[in-house]
Amino acid sequence: MSSARSAHILHLGVLGLLFAAFFLLPAYHQGNLARILVLAVYAMGYNLLFGYTGLLSLGHAVFFAAGMYGLGLAMHLGGATPAPAFLAGMIAALLVAGVIGSLALRTVGVAFMIVTLMFAQAGYLTILYFGTYTRGDEGFVIPQTARALWGFDLTDPTNRYFAALILFAVVLLFIGWLVNTSFGRSLIAIRENEERARMLGYDVQRAKWIAVTLSGLLSGMSGAAYALLFGYAGATFASVQYSILPLLWVLLGGAGTTIGPLVGTIFMFYLIDFASEVTSAYMLVAGVAFVLLTLFAPTGIAGELRRRALPWLP
């Protein structure tokens, strides 16, 4: 069996499992999983740039927020319905990512980290600065009545779960397909050795720009979906910690693997959720877990699986 084929089977298996999970899990975990699936899209977007292209950004929150506010403001101020508002969110993220990408890619390595961090910080402050429209840190609620897509009430737990699952599935299959195209292989070539990729005739700069833009777009879709499904947009989601989170999810789950982002997002959510039931010092537990993971599973959970048991893992 070819590895592309087994990857395909794996992806469909994961999606089947997630489909079944809805009917097996109690309400609380259904709700959590809906959230996780939306955030995993953010992690997958991040992984495209970090895990596959080897570019470490510290400013992805600005893309997530661009999607969130693109959709949120279109509905809140413009009175748009969810479908065009979602499109507005995607366009906002695409523009922000395109512009930031073209500037930030003049730098490499740590300078790239700082430039993306600074642009994200400027974005966060801009949301506060235009508090008249955005309501700054407090944010705004998208009313329950407005959150219906083509007649489906997205505040209903079943509809919400499957909307999240469909978004997740589309992005997962897209990434699974993308990394096997020649473009996807050129990204991996850049990650492995940028100089050699250039020698081999790849237009490295262009490929990197497409990767940033695409990654920003996926992050923005996650932000827009989050606002739509959970009814809230606020500046907190543009703050530094929301730029660090996808990095953490991807590193914990396994960078450069297709299912790593999902694994990492689930792992971190439940780590905090369980630990906070046991002790109020749950951050301590999370901290120790991170340290242990770096010591004993250096390539993340899915990465470790690939290394030890399943070498075909995409």
């Binding site: 109690p26 506060l128 600065y129 508090g131 840190d137 329950q144 606020g234 907190t236 951050m283």
Partner: protein
Amino acid sequence: MTKAIDQKPSLTRRKTLKTLGAGALAASVGCYVQAQSSAPIKVGFQVHRTGIGAAYGRWYDRTTQAAVAKINAEGGINGRPLEIVAEDDGTDPKRGAEVVEKFATQHGCDIAFGTLFSHVVFGSSPRAGELKLPYFVVSEGHHVASGKLNRYTLQPGITDVKSQVQAMAPYVAETLGKKVTMIYPDFAFGHDHRDYFSAALEAQGGEVIAKIAIPPTETSFTKYFPKIPRDTEVIYHVMVGPAVLTFVKEMGEFFGPSKPQIFGFIDSLEAVDLSSPGLEFLEDTYFWEGHPRYAQANQTEYDKTYRAAVGVDNNGASISDPKDVSTYAHMFGCWETLHIVKAGMEAADYQGPGDRSKLIEAVEAMTDMPASDAHPQGAKVFNGRTHQVFGHQYISRVEGGKLVLAHTTSIEDTLYEDEVDYTTQSF
């Protein structure tokens, strides 16, 4: 996680109450035939244990535990004890929403309650509405009364920023001066101060001559003070977050001996000891207080009882550690909210989650709340249409390093026109 009741060594009064209450509870439980009806009423308590709101969260927790102990000692609600299920929201709107969901679907809570920071309220409220979980917030934000939330979100235990701010304008204009410079944080809470105070001051014939919005996370402030116009008669300041003490200190250093009148919201110094080094210059300045931190000459019996129950001394600090200053101007809201929940559940004959809408209707029907052990901060009037309570506001002057009550506003001063009627929304 079920929170064990916070043990404080010196609360003999509470221990007595507990013992008495255990007896009363046993007696009242005996009256009920069904075992189910003696099951505890579960209150999901969203608490800022970590993050920027942790200083508030700790005192909200203590006040809540004290209120629960009192209510249970007096026989609980409809003979059933209250049980607090506390979860940290990390002062983060995303986690806040997850916690509300956990209360409803995992813990099976009857209601959710507690949070202070308004972005957490905004983040959580949509989930509470969708899950049809009554959500009693203690946040002092204008979010509830502005109509931006939903029928399941109520704020019956603490007044909102709009009414607080507009009630200050007459006193500021008449007693302190008419030309005001405002310094406030550049986010929604600060913008509410800016907008509502400017309007209210103009109505009093005064004028806000400069508005200085400080970005959050700023840690040094001196560079902004020259933006204060020279002819300022009154400085109006309100800051939140860990840098508040620096802000107040640097303001003192900036003005030196020639300071204008200074009026601040105690939020700028909540949980901060007024005798901290560098705060000497606050002598003779004024503060809004939601509830006077220092026991006043005319202290009510209700305040005395409440103070003792929570474990706060006459200076507003913890009985066990005089350096541990409470968030006295806000935390009474937890105490009063839980008493309103009790009154509402008893009026609605609340039996379980099926009666949630009856509970909300019962609270909406409330109006006058006279000062009492249940309302130690003072009398209040609840507006069922806007889901917001209104009450007296206090203005204190710093005298000899203590806050001394200088003025109490009427409730009428705090009222404004309704911006929403939640009772017309369906459940």
